[in-house]
Symmetry: C2
Subunit: 338 residues, 2 copies
DNA sequence: CTGAAAGCGCTAACAG
DNA sequence: CTGTTAGCGCTTTCAG
């Protein structure tokens, strides 16, 4: 069996309270005994039992991360940031892949609650009323990462998606492009869908480009879907000279479609992605993309959650990290307008 | 405060043991009381405290995953398999990114031990003597995933890397290629390095190709390094018509180099990767690659660990899952030898 | 400065 | 079938 505090006490010839003290308030124990205890601890390779401590402190030093799917490189980057922050603050992280499935998510929430996690990092998902209800029910400290909620008073950290999309499209316009298509996520997605679409539309509008609905084609998350969406885009709008993709994965689908059609990037068509996942510098040509501070999002999310746990509240409630355009080789000046 | 078993007992008008019983052996309680208790539980939204249970059962239903870096898509895939298996077996998973750093890894090991994890999934790393010492010291059940150990009696699940590399290279040879280069990981890597190199060499040898050392260039894990390695390969061996890359990321580096040089794939040079990460079907051209059953590796790893925890031992100790070649578009028959 | 004792929330004998 | 009681391993008063 693993050694307990009693074993240490016996070996050191002191009471268990003394052992406890050398671990929690070493100064309150005379040196002679302290040394004895420390030696006993070393000899027995004693480690205090986290259950017993948890029972008293009501803290597990564990955080639950709810995230759609760790295989998505964007999420993996966020988690890495979380994990580093967690380590430096003394937390461990439990991963829960939700697949954006309601039941799955709620079952994880219950699970986390039962495991006595100190808080939850709710990542990249919409906060539906029933989720919020559960959160309240369990009185769990929650921080939203890469998502936010306008209805509920939940702390969050994300970028400003609308502004980022606006900047990406403005860049393309600045390059001289007039006919800019977009491969968008469904507008029902309140984070990566609607705001990025709105940013795109605002850029067209403010720069005086025709924008009756824009040249927007919708796709659902995956590469394949973006590829066929690109087909539809160029089918409907053959004169398109630039494409703004709502994610790097979408941009890769566009690149693939264009390559297949023998359309040269960026000579004939420019492409700008979104996220700056690592893969985006491995494409041919390398992708120009709107970068999210992926790692920081996760890192700050944990720091924020930590503050929330410690103080019961945080300011600012909703935090927006800066985005930045990474200029690589997939976008070039538009032809005939220079 | 969260409700305790005592609150439930009071509300239901029974003793705490009865409450405990309806949770652990419902049949041993008369219906009338059981219903009362169940109602009380529902009303109070009672959930048993995992610390208290853990203290008694000495089980946390939590598994620790030590893995180099979750951002690597290969590892992310493995973890996803682990997580699904864990969920279905009632475990949670704690992620520990080691960065292949000794101190970091050992600190996580201690951490996991203190948190009373029920077992460890040691993934894609060499088991050095000091790691093994810690494992023994903590008497932690461990399963190696995507790695194994011939020195120590540790259960493991991985593919047969030597055979997989052999098959990949044989495929290229079958396609008529005679001058096949390899971008290898350092041979000091006993999992993805040496065995894949050996498989490559054996294929050359058994098929009667010149193999005085082979045409091997070494690189360290990353895309960039593989790209420059490809430069060296073609510098030293200009007549190379096919490249076997020790990972898909390496293969992407090769693809990038070749594209930059205007060398067409697969018309002039064929490329075969290793792993079959999702991204490999998003390259241009799509990558032909030796697939590892990534998800299954993780899934089976957890199942194995579960058995180890339950029974104290498992057979077979070292398990090897099948690999399979995924033929896509980056490899074609070699010119002039058909 | 130190030990005895109470108790965190739950389970598991042990009587009844 | 059910309640009482003794811990699980640790921290924390409270005396001394």
């Amino acid at each position: 069996m693993k050694p307990t505090i009693r074993d240490v006490a016996k070996l050191a010839g002191v009471s268990i309270s003394t052992v406890s003290r050398v671990m929690n308030a070493p100064d309150s124990v005379v040196e002679s005994k302290r040394v004895k205890v420390l030696q006993a601890i070393e000899r027995l390779q004693y480690q205090p039992n986290a259950f017993a401590r948890g029972l008293i402190y009501k803290k597990s030093h564990t955080l639950g991360v709810l995230i759609p799917d760790i295989r998505n490189p964007y999420y993996a980057g966020v988690i890495r940031g979380m994990e580093d922050a967690a380590k430096s603050l003394g937390y461990s992280i439990i991963i829960c892949n939700t697949d954006r499935d309601k039941e799955r998510l709620i079952s994880y929430l219950e699970n986390c609650n039962e495991k006595q996690v100190d808080g939850i990092l709710f990542t990249s998902e919409t906060v539906y009323p029933d989720y919020y209800a559960e959160i309240r029910r369990f009185r769990l400290p929650v921080v939203l990462v890469s998502t936010h909620s306008l209805e509920y008073e939940l702390p969050s950290v994300k970028i400003n998606d609308e502004a980022a999309a606006y900047d990406a499209v403005s860049y393309l316009i600045g390059l001289g492009h007039r006919r800019i298509g977009m491969i968008s996520l469904p507008l029902s997605d309140p984070i990566a869908g609607l705001p990025r679409y709105q940013g795109y539309m605002r850029a067209l509008r403010e720069h005086g480009l025709p924008h009756e609905g824009g040249q927007v084609i919708y796709a659902e998350h995956w590469y394949d879907e973006a590829r066929s969406a690109a087909g539809r885009l160029f089918g409907q709008h053959p004169q398109t000279t630039a494409v703004f993709a709502a994610s790097d994965e979408f941009a890769m689908g566009v690149l693939s479609f264009l390559h297949e059609r023998g359309i040269r990037v960026p000579d004939e068509v420019s492409v700008v992605g979104f996220d700056n996942i690592r893969m985006s510098e491995m494409t041919i040509p390398q992708l120009t993309t709107m970068a999210q501070p992926v790692y920081e999002l996760g890192y700050k999310g944990v720091e924020k959650l930590h503050r929330l746990i410690e103080h019961g509240s945080v300011t600012p409630l909703r935090e927006y990290l800066p985005h930045s355009l990474i200029v690589r080789s997939s976008a070039a000046p538009g032809k005939g307008t220079q």
